[in-house]
Point group: C2
DNA sequence: CAGGATCCTGCAAGATACTG
DNA sequence: CAGTATCTTGCAGGATCCTG
């Protein structure tokens, strides 16, 4: 690791990052990645099962997110050549290292619903 | 809190969330919010000092993020009527509750730079 | 110094329909 | 069942210039 002007500089996917936050956000940023990882954190799920757990996501977006997560090495895609086709998604060991981060994010959001009645209108 | 179809549903800022992850991401999502919160985590900084810490951000984006973070109650904006004008930003108590989350995110990114030499090209 | 105003662009995300 | 293929849209983010 090279220190440049007293600063760590990383390169990943042809992008350059100047702080560790950016790096993580590149893996879990966007609207859907944390949610997908959340539902896979302790179970293996098929495409349709994931779609059922996350009703608001479109099939296109789910497909894109799964592909990106797989390319990043966070999830594993297993194809079983049955009829009808079965494809299962699960976290890799690398992906599992993200669980504490995701749980930290989820925990904070949950705590908001439990303690704050003004900012958070619960329906 | 009302449970609807075995599911918690939250409403905030006229948006509806179906899981705790979304709620947190609404506060720290996007490209810049975590970074700004990071530099304010243990110090009070002026607009120009923040800009210096985050060279890549434009003044417009910094202004927008600071305003959003203030509206969310995460940071405090203090104006000192001096010439030249002095404006200081710092975390509120509420904002400080996010520090463990931000640190969790940063820690994961940092660990990547320390352990992985293949996925992460360090320049 | 600490922003605001404007204009602009690209890409994340959505809608809808279709397929091996 | 597990996705693709198109087309479209909204908004995050950028560039540039301006101001109390």
């Amino acid at each position: 690791m090279i220190i440049k002007d007293k600063e760590y500089v990383f390169k990943l996917h042809e992008k350059t990052f100047h702080c560790a936050l950016d790096i993580t956000m590149n893996f879990i940023g966007g609207k859907w990645k944390t949610v997908v990882l959340w539902y896979l954190r302790n179970q293996t799920l098929r495409f349709g099962e994931l779609k059922k757990q996350i009703p608001d996501i479109t099939e296109k977006m789910l497909s894109i997110q799964l592909k990106a997560l797989e390319e990043d090495g966070l999830i594993k895609r297993e194809v079983f050549p049955e009829i009808p086709l079965r494809v299962e998604y699960s976290l890799t060991d690398f992906g599992k290292t993200l669980i504490p981060v995701i749980e930290s994010i989820a925990k904070w959001g949950r705590s908001l619903g439990e303690t704050d009645g003004e900012m958070l209108e619960v329906i």
